[in-house]
């Protein structure tokens, strides 16, 4: 290919050096990073001639910043960020889903379903952001008046958990892996419902809602189709491995820079809902997910509904 | 009351290694005007500061006159820049007089000092002599048994000075107060003093005490 030629030219002076094509792959700390932990740790050769760098970004904000600066070639991002990136940079496309919804309604109280939340104080993260929108959508579609629920928001799960541990809150929507940590610290916490299951019911979806999405730079995908295919295959394997070997996932994740305690990670895998689904099987789900986000606040998908061009499918 | 003495004994004071007073003794006449003269830097202000309790002396068993109530005309004027003339004076009076008495007194003294028109001025808007006169009025109006004056009349023209000195004499006759008066102007001293103390040397000692009747200007000048 083109690059190979330039590489050869360069290496005239140093005949032994084989300059590989560099690929940058980013994922945020947390579940998405766990999804790639086997790949990032073992660094298997995906395809000859490619040198892959994995980076774990500590916050989803620093990740989205790098995506917006178009630094990584491949990234795992929150699904709405995929739409924002598509709308704002028009250079990333969705290649597949890495994980479905992993939020759960938990409580120390004796409740069994969403409708019992009415009149209660319920903790949640990120007012008007995707988890909140998902919760509100599910509740609304189930005919629950969300105004009757006293939502208490904090910025992230790391602020929510202490409130639940110290009984400042009894009920909340908590994502994995924070949920496992929470259950370690407060044994009274019970899982009431999975938000993903709730979504399945209200959106008529088989899988639930896509929580994390893998996006690839469109020109990179075009020029390196074989690599991309191989990589997605490996990623799928890596996710399966993480789901199966729950005893090692934590250690692997720790070594690539995931900050969550390895034991907690191991415990969380059961509810983490990590699974790789190719985008062609998810188009409907994305469309309806984006539509619901858009209805709530267009900003959450970058101002406009993304068109079909966002999906990386071969014509 | 006439014969009581204000006795200062065994006073010691040094700054770092600079010994100012070494077992210094002095006696002032109570209810008289005691004038202190001496070379610049010899320790006059320090003496006044120790006597009034502002500066700590190094002796153990030394008693200051703090409790008597002291008015002090400082060598620098020590006015508070953000208070105007009136406030600067009222500031020290803090319920010492009834409101009407205070207003009348204030009026009288400012008038006497010739600065009544500057009542609402802030210190930075005043000339050196006017500031000094505020300093004087503040001390005179403050009810006290002892008035300490450290070069009170500097920067004041001769006419105003004479008026104030006359008034001072008059007040002192009425209100019996003990005065310690430092000056470099021998004429001033001769005019107002009952007794004149000449300080000098290092560490400083009393070089001479002169009664006003028996004083001659040149004698003092020589002593200094």
């Amino acid at each position: 290919s083109q690059n190979a030629i330039t590489n050869n030219k360069k290496s005239n002076s140093d005949k032994l050096a084989i300059v590989n094509k560099e690929v940058m792959i980013s994922a945020p700390d947390g579940l998405p990073a766990i999804a790639i932990s086997k790949l990032a740790k073992e660094k298997p050769i995906i395809k000859d001639g490619y040198e892959v760098t994995y980076s774990v970004e500590a916050t989803s904000e620093s990740l989205s910043t790098t995506v917006m600066k178009e630094e990584p070639d491949i990234a795992i991002v929150p699904s709405n960020m995929a739409a924002i990136a598509y709308n704002k940079t028009s250079s990333y496309k969705i290649a597949g889903t890495v994980g479905m919804g992993s939020f759960y309604l938990v409580s120390t109280e004796d409740i069994n379903d969403f409708n019992e939340l009415v009149g209660k104080k319920v903790g949640n993260t990120g007012k008007s952001l995707t988890p909140d929108i998902t919760v509100q959508t599910v509740l609304k579609e189930k005919g629950i008046n969300v105004d009757d629920i006293d939502f208490n928001y904090v910025n992230s799960a790391s602020e929510l958990v202490p409130l639940l541990v110290t009984d400042k809150l009894n009920t909340a929507f908590v994502p994995e892996p924070a949920l496992s940590a929470l259950m370690e610290k407060n044994k009274d916490i019970k899982i009431i419902k999975s938000l993903n299951d709730g979504w399945k019911e209200v959106a008529n979806s088989k899988q639930g809602y896509p929580q994390s999405t893998i996006i690839i730079k469109s020109d990179f995908a075009e020029n390196n189709q074989e690599f991309v295919e191989a990589f997605l295959g490996q990623l799928s394997n890596s996710i399966d491995w993480a789901n199966d070997s729950t005893n090692n996932a934590g250690e692997y994740a720790k070594e690539i820079g995931v900050t969550t305690d390895p034991n907690i990670i191991n415990k969380s895998m059961e509810r983490a809902n990590l699974k790789f689904i190719s985008v062609k099987d998810m188009i409907e789900d994305y469309n309806s997910y984006y539509q619901k986000l858009y209805n709530f606040d267009p900003k959450t998908v970058g101002g406009t509904l993304p068109d079909e061009g966002i999906y990386l499918v071969e014509e | 009351m006439e014969e009581i003495k204000l006795r200062i004994k065994n006073m010691n004071k040094k700054y770092n290694d600079n010994i100012i007073f070494d077992n210094f003794d002095i006696e002032f006449d109570v209810n008289k005007v005691n004038c202190i003269v001496g070379k610049s830097g010899c320790g006059k202000s320090t003496l006044l500061n120790i006597v009034s309790g502002i500066v700590k002396n190094d002796s153990e068993d030394f008693k200051t006159m703090e409790d008597l109530g002291i008015s002090y005309i400082f060598q620098e004027d020590r006015l508070i820049e953000w208070l105007n003339v009136e406030e600067n004076i009222k500031f020290v009076l803090d319920k010492k007089y009834k409101k009407e008495v205070l207003e009348r007194k204030l009026q009288d003294y400012l008038d006497l000092a010739g600065i009544i028109q500057y009542k609402k001025y802030y210190p930075q808007m005043l000339s050196g002599g006017i500031r000094q006169r505020v300093n004087i009025v503040r001390a005179l109006i403050y009810p006290s048994k002892v008035i300490i004056m450290d070069e009170p009349f500097k920067s004041i023209d001769i006419k105003n000075k004479n008026i104030i000195m006359e008034k001072l004499k008059y007040i002192l006759k009425k209100e019996v107060r003990t005065v310690l008066f430092v000056t470099h102007d021998i004429d001033e001293a001769l005019f107002i003093a009952d007794k004149i103390y000449v300080l000098g040397g290092s560490p400083v000692k009393v070089k001479g005490v002169l009664d006003n009747n028996s004083i001659d200007k040149n004698a003092i000048t020589d002593l200094i």
Binding site: S60, E61, S64, M68, K69, N80, M81, I84, K88, T89, G126, K127, S128, L129, N152, Y153, V154, N155, S158, E159, P162, L163, T166, K168, D297, K299, T300, G302, G303 | S52, G53, I54, G69, I70, S71, Y72, F74, E76, R78, I80, E81, W82, L83, N84, E87, F91, V92, D94, Y122, P123, Q124, M125, Y142
Partner: protein
Amino acid sequence: MKEFTLLKSRGSRSDKLEVALSCVILLFLWQIIAWKINNEIYLPTIGQVLSSILEIIKADKFYMDIILSIGRCIFSFIIALILSMIFGIVAYLSRGFRNFLRPINALASSIPTMVLVVLALIWFDKDNAPFIVGIAIVFPILYDSVLGAITNIDKNILEMAKLYNISLRGKILNIYLPAIKLRLASILLSSFSLALKVIIAGEVHGQPNYGIGTRIQIEKVNFNTSGIFAWIVIILIISVILDVVQKVMLRRSFIWKR
């Protein structure tokens, strides 16, 4: 009266002109650079930001957000101010108290904001958390200033006050407070801005129902750069308004200056 103000230039007509000119130049530069970069993510154009501002202002919650944030800010700033004056004066008067406060103050000024937010969320409730955080961050700076101001009062004046047996109340009213006021005047604006900033940070973490921080977080997470800039402009305008209010309130304090 020109001679009696803090900075001779304050409030004069040509000053306002110059400030306005500076604003125009900056806006101009901004627009040019934005055009050059031509990437909304790095730097939105003025037009984009203006339309974001309009959008934000039109939202019905806007006034509540603004009022509650400013309210928290003013409230926590005033409490920090009062506390710092009281503590500063007491610390000046009593060496024991000053020493006792030292470790506490060192602690208050070392705890990183986000840690403080989390702890405040745990210890207090989330509506008070931003408020507590605001006090904890601003207090050490004001306290240091107050103590510094009193410590630097001309010793001559204090000797004079002592000699004339001025009551503590008289000393506080006529000497300490004016000296503190004079000193604080110079950092009031910047420490108030700091309070606003910290309150907003607290809101980002604590996510109260209404508050600028809650709204900024939404723009931030959705990577809406022009929305972020719009909020910066709004906060800037608030700061400027509060600054003017402060100056009007302070102007009278400095008539004694030549």
